[in-house]
Symmetry: C2
Subunit: 227 residues, 2 copies
Amino acid sequence: MSPKSDGAAVTTAPETDVEGVDNEAVTKNLVFVAAERLFALHGFQNVSVRDITAAAGVNLASVNYHFGSKDALLYEIFRRRTVELNRERAKKLHEAIDRHQGNPPVREILAALLTPPLKWLAPDHERRISLQFLIRARSEGTDEIRKVLQTDVTHLRRFSDALLKARPDLPAEEIYWRLHFTLGMLHNNRFAEFDRLNVLSEGTTSEADVEALLGRMLHFAEAGFSA
Amino acid sequence: MSPKSDGAAVTTAPETDVEGVDNEAVTKNLVFVAAERLFALHGFQNVSVRDITAAAGVNLASVNYHFGSKDALLYEIFRRRTVELNRERAKKLHEAIDRHQGNPPVREILAALLTPPLKWLAPDHERRISLQFLIRARSEGTDEIRKVLQTDVTHLRRFSDALLKARPDLPAEEIYWRLHFTLGMLHNNRFAEFDRLNVLSEGTTSEADVEALLGRMLHFAEAGFSA
DNA sequence: GGGGAAGTCTTACGGCCGTTCGAAATTGGC
DNA sequence: GCCAATTTCGAACGGCCGTAAGACTTCCCC
């Protein structure tokens, strides 16, 4: 019937698809986007399939038809966004490697790791909600997601290898721990934590300026690595 | 009949004794401990009241009789452990303040913040599971818990005030951000993240040595603050 | 030892959940 | 314009959930 509840310009005409191509997967895409947003805002367990399909304006059965199950939907969002984010990171890392004859300094390695997710965090960025989703999925996801996070460290190894080469004077163990600390700083960038920080600082802090935030994080982490 | 003997007035009376005294609240305690463990290991939403009462070896109705509801049970665990942890932190902070005539250095302030939770993290520590619970409750808790975390920053303000005094040369905004980063490092100490770190480092890292971990974290964070 | 409060037990209610099924509608190829 | 495949739809099923009601047991005080 009337899928979208937007109530604006509902032409009874052929109703051409939004993008102009690939109209077959329009429903699947609506589900994907709505689910990502709701999962990011309220968590996986607190969002029902009915919530998702209602927000997407599609039929209840769409999730199981297009994705198989609610778990599989979560996993597909997680996979796509993870690949997307890690691709940006790897690209930046290789650029830094090329720029420095195979041995970039610590700051550039950390910048390759942190810049993509922080760019996503910008208030008007298309992937802002995706980053919140990924942070949540890391701790609230299914067993399968947790297994992938623990097992597949190939992406992270690129960065630990680069750091080991940049700081051959440090014990490898120390490098791994400091990378762990840096990732902790990153994963703490949730909406709720920003709210708390804003209350504490009485509004003087602003996470909207992601450039400044990136600079602060890089400064802090680089100092930690240089110690 | 009216089990809602709310803990506003009679809190923290009996706790440690499990068998010694003819304690009326032995069942309540069994539920408390079992729930804390299961929540910490599997998350709030993934643990049912039936799971809790089965693990505790008590009747299904015990949760609602002694705590009012499942949400209230979570909240009571959260409150007690938070108070416990923050009391230890505040004690250490005041000791540092007394030791340094009201103006302790950054490292001692951070030590007061990080030492108690890291002590809890020791493999044989009684509160090991409590710390995992608190980390989880921070992001997976109920709306009420999240509201408390965002609103009640009085505990955290003690530390930000001390840091502001220790580094008057830094803009206040910078202090708040660096405190935020440090807390991110701390909250990343979940079992799952340790597993991932161990895979990445091929077993060379060990979170069992909490003294070493505390040293590493303090070193890293202090360097970040000194930058 | 009787009475009443406190605690424990069994049982079940109402509700929301993820998933499925068969029918209806739409689409694409010829 | 017809057929077959794909997609959407309404409806419902079985299940687990949190919670409550009411009967039963324990224990302490008078």
